[in-house]
Symmetry: C2
Subunit: 704 residues, 2 copies
């Protein structure tokens, strides 16, 4: 799977029931260290699990080791990365540098297709918009945030909390010049201030072809055995010169070996291990089924558009890729939630958690009602979920614009706290300027996307629904979409300007067919949106209580849910049982050329010519990808794998399909992190890409 879209891991799950804490387990030094496997291993750097590491691996890193790996790691947009030379060389995944590789491509050369190697430093082009954040420090600010929250009413408390967080961030930024972010852990059980040094000049050094970095394409995505060279090298520049990096991971060209302990240092995006059963059931029965229906409809629509021409196919390739990626991920999460055993384990944990709270009068008084409050809110959300989803704007950009044009005057006229959440967050001005931006819209695509939306409405809303009647007017979704997009003028800036500037009166008077439809939808959508906002506030306030309750019940030794902030996860390099046999701990170039041959060199198993010509030069037994039991999720893409010595032995780029249910509960019987092996990178740099300059830089820095 691609790790970029948030799919993560972290807190929670099947804590042992008191009964099962038998004498035998109590003697287990790992259990004694406070480690509870089902919560996963996404540790924060201010709470490294030293007792557990000592018990599990006989590994007791010094403070300096932890500082070294933390300061060698950097966060880039949506992904993770690491500094791997004293010259600021940065390693991440190819799929994390996609936007840069595309941006520096020219009309003549598409580096996604051809790969890119900068022969000299001066050939390293700048990646527009790319930044790298290095985590300088972590400070627990829970007390400061709590002190600021004095009100009784939930909404007011939330506002006080948000204001306190903003103040802490602003003061920090002003005093340090760093990027400052207050991170919410344990759903509000704890707040920490993260300070980052931001590097703003990153340049492209080396990228392989997409065919080798994403070898196997969508079928192999999220699976293992795998043969992807999903790696790209960037370089941090400061003041126009390569960064003289104080902290970097030394290159271990031998890479990871079977049974070795490894540490993934990166930024897992989001997990749901602290969710209550009621929240998980909502995802299982309401949210994921709706999302999967929508994704499937969109994929069908983009496929149909793609069939019209090769140019269209290229244009929609990225959309289809992202949607298929999301589809495979959500299906995997959903499969976890429909797994009877997994849900039973979750229930056992929740029963135990609630019993611990009930057993103490004060805890019960503080937290005891939180589960039921969440369950009631989820039940109410379920009761109008279909209406909230389909009595709404979506699919086509013009349709969404029409909705915003109708909503804008009334939302702008309200006090902020009465507005819809999206208008509270961004403010009416942002919507206004978006509507007044000049945009080129392809009306064919708009028609196709509106057809998708109207078809979904037709499928899910009852026949007599007022929105459905107003939209279709007795036509099929496709006919109705053609009529609406054919009749609207909203693709012209003039039409939108007239409505924005004319305000409520102009919107009321308009006979633009999309505006007429939006006037039917807007009041319903507003009502659903405000009701959802109220229920979500209830859920979030009670989730925060639960975050505090978990400390009371289990102490603070458990890693919190993922937050796209820096974590260190431990694991062991290890194969796993798969489909009746065993998957090896690592793959090989033999296997790569095998899968290429076995699919008769057809895409997505086609190989670039450069690879085919290199086959005789390569040591085909070299490891390509490898697996470990480390705990990752989307956002971890590009994370370095570090050995006991603090050297880099790989770069994470995916999990196997068995890992997807880890979003809700961590298991490591068969779930694995998939990483590119440093031996494969070294071999490819030298023998496929003629990139000795980079290989030598890695080797030279490693022995400094």
């Amino acid at each position: 799977m691609r790790l970029t879209p948030l799919y993560c891991l972290a807190l929670f799950a099947l804590v042992l029931t008191p009964l099962s804490l038998s004498a035998q387990e109590a003697k287990d030094p790992i259990a004694e260290s406070g480690f509870v496997k089902e919560f996963g291993t996404m540790w924060t750097f201010d709470a490294p699990p030293l007792a557990y590491w000592k018990a599990a691996y006989d590994f007791a890193p010094e403070r300096a080791w932890l500082d070294h790996v933390r300061l060698s790691a950097v966060r880039i947009p949506g992904c993770s990365a690491s500094v791997v030379s004293d010259q600021g060389l940065v390693m991440t995944n190819h799929h994390c540098a996609r936007s840069c590789i595309t941006a520096v491509s020219t009309d003549d050369v598409n580096y996604q297709a051809t790969g890119f190697v900068a022969a000299r430093e001066e050939d390293e082009p700048r990646c527009p918009g790319m930044t790298a954040d290095q985590l300088q420090s972590i400070e627990d600010v829970t007390a400061k945030v709590r002190q600021a929250v004095t009100a009784r009413a939930t909404e007011e408390r939330v506002a006080q909390r948000d204001a306190a967080i903003q103040t802490i961030q602003d003061e920090c930024a002003a005093s340090t010049g760093l990027i400052c972010q207050v991170v919410t852990f344990y759903q509000g059980g704890m707040y920490s201030l993260y300070r980052y040094k931001r590097f703003q000049d990153l340049r492209l050094v080396m990228a392989p072809e997409e065919e080798i970095s994403f070898f196997g394409g969508d079928p192999d995505n999220f699976t293992y055995p795998r043969y992807d060279l999903d790696v790209t090298f960037l370089r941090i520049y400061e003041n126009g010169r390569p960064l003289l990096a104080e902290h970097f991971l030394r290159w271990n060209a031998k890479g990871a070996t079977e049974g070795e302990v490894v540490f993934v240092v990166g930024n897992p995006g989001s997990t749901g291990r602290m969710l209550t059963l009621a929240q998980m059931e909502y995802l299982r029965d309401v949210q994921y089924p709706h999302q999967l229906a929508q994704i499937a409809a969109l994929i069908r629509a983009y496929r149909a558009l793609s069939e019209q021409s090769p140019a269209a196919a290229r244009q929609y390739e990225n959309n289809i890729f992202s949607l298929e990626n999301a589809q495979k991920a959500i299906r995997g999460y959903h499969s976890g939630l429909t797994d009877v055993d997994l849900m039973a384990r979750k229930k056992r944990f929740e029963d135990d958690f609630r019993a611990r709270i009930r057993a103490d009068r004060q805890l019960q008084s503080n937290y005891g009602r939180a589960w039921d409050a969440i369950a009631r809110a989820q039940a109410e959300l379920t009761s109008f979920a279909t209406e909230a989803r389909y009595q709404a704007f979506g699919g086509s950009t013009l349709f969404i614009m029409a909705g915003n044009l109708v909503l804008l005057p009334e939302q702008a006229a309200m006090p902020n706290d009465r507005r819809l959440p999206q208008f509270q967050e961004d403010g009416p001005d942002r919507f206004r300027s978006q509507l007044l931006r000049n945009r080129e819209l392809d009306l064919g695509v708009e028609t196709a996307m509106l057809t998708v939306q109207l078809s979904l409405m037709q499928e899910h809303l009852p026949a007599g629904d007022p929105v459905l009647r107003a939209a279709l007017q007795g036509q099929s979704p496709e006919e109705a979409a053609k009529r609406l997009i054919g009749g609207t003028k909203l693709h012209t800036l003039e039409a939108r300007e007239a409505l924005v500037e004319g305000g409520a009166a102009a919107v009321q008077a308009s006979d633009d067919p999309l505006i007429v439809l939006a006037r039917v939808i807007a009041p319903l959508m507003t009502r659903h949106g405000m009701r959802q906002a109220r229920l979500n506030t209830t859920i979030s306030a009670n989730a925060e209580l639960m975050g505090q309750a978990i400390f009371a019940a289990y102490g603070k030794a458990l890693p919190p849910d993922a937050t796209f902030t820096l974590r260190i996860s431990d694991g062991v390099v290890k194969g796993f049982p798969m489909n009746g046999t065993i998957a090896p701990y690592r793959t090989s170039f033999y296997g790569l050329f095998g899968r290429n041959a076995e699919f008769d060199d057809q895409p997505p198993f086609h190989l670039p010519d450069r690879w085919k010509m290199a086959v005789g030069r390569l040591d085909l037994a070299t490891p390509v990808d490898f697996v470990s039991t480390a705990d990752i999720i989307g956002g971890n893409s590009g994370s370095p794998l570090v050995n006991r010595k603090g050297e880099v032995v790989g770069v994470a780029f995916d999990g196997n399909i068995e890992m997807l249910p880890n979003r809700f509960i961590f298991t490591d019987e068969v779930s694995r992190t998939v990483s590119v092996h440093t031996a494969a990178i070294t071999e490819a740099l030298k023998k496929v890409y003629g990139a000795e300059r980079i290989a030598e830089e890695l080797e030279r820095a490693a022995i400094r």
Copy 2:
């Protein structure tokens, strides 16, 4: 999986309900041809599904084509094979020729380990006991058998039927000199006389090393992707000279290609697609769980014995291999029976079948009670299954001998039809001579095996059980086994002779501890055995009714359950969805060397030196194994895969793990036959084994 142990397929399953035979399906030419997918495709040669083949593949073979492939196929002990040259060259699986390869090995050279290539004809050693049967003709003898059955009582009818079958066989053998066998199809719905020409002089021509023929060992067994060269060449001799074969399959060195239709011609052993739901539930809830418990205990015991020395490890390797093979197979079958969807499909079929019978008064009168009669008998078998299994002799050879010594006098004194089934079948004399044969028994192994048996008894029988009390006498199973094996004299021929010749009185007077225990068990075991025999007769009589009922309900176009007789199954060469991605239709030598490298050259992924040295000479992209949707089961091992032209393109050796539930219902969404590709065999003969003589013989015969 290894196909030798019976694991098959054939009749039955999800016939469409009348409702689902919609207009659309009625227009499907394949459905119109009478093909019902769930019954599988193990066709008999006297009822080839010509309409279905025409509709599915536009393939309409002449009679000559069918005769050609039938007469080119031969059945060898437990397996299938084919003649592939005009000089009587026979191809089968390496694992089917195991006994021959071992038998012709010398003290100095173990050809299982080293492989074997006969450089010249005179170097081809004879395989002791190996025969090859060529199917000459098939004759429907149902009417003849039925005419002979005139009695009313079930036991008498069975005896009449068996006598009629014996007469037909004897008369055929006397008049033709052929091997004659009456085969029971559709559980007794139909009887056919199969006549075979038997070849008795088979010699070993070429066998690869076991490491390459069984590459991946137990983990990869029953799975795909696979990289096994599971092939061996034998030669039929007649009158001391190679057979000048009139019928043989021409060698197609290009082998199978993706999407191509292929036919498997071989002898599937046994399937249970005609079983009723009640019979399947018995397997699921009673028989398989018991078998799995026993297999697991035996594997543990042999592992423990193996750990004592390398010599012991070699000795028990075969036992462990067979047990693990059976374990993987039974787990697969069991998984089919615990699959909710599959059982629901089965129930739909049974409901439809019963409704069709009920709808006709005469059919209902003839067959309508059969299902309930079987269900009642299965329920009664279930009620005492544990006692029948563990109030019995088993595990240790000495324990079984003790049981037979006690049973022999009383069984010998009875009329044959009152005896236990095993004594009816073999006769008391056979037991007597077995007991009086001189045997060397390892008392350590006997103790271990008796420990297994006593442990299983202890686990399954209630604490106060008389057998358990008599066996353990308050000791642990291991102590009791030591006491019993330590105290018995039955390992000496003299002790057994004294008891056989002394008869009932000697047995009664004996104070040998195993005889004392056997005297407690024998009456219980006899009672259970007679009760089981009565219930099994009821089941088999009603199953025969059901075999007739299926013709009445669905006509005769459906292939019968497997019977280890020659069938032809059609399929398409095709990959399948696997573990989140797709498995290719074929593997490659690249993949072979990949899996070897990826497990760091460790067994069972170790490769013979000859292969490692050949890597530079081989075309690594050559197909090794490939998959097709053909319908096979144990017994099909060694079956040729034949293309439209009647050429051989592969040799079947396994199914993927997804195929195991096919024993009870055929599906081809993900289940696949795994075969060795002829291109791999050609490449290996020439470039690994220096066996140009054989490669050239294949090529020369192909162009004759």
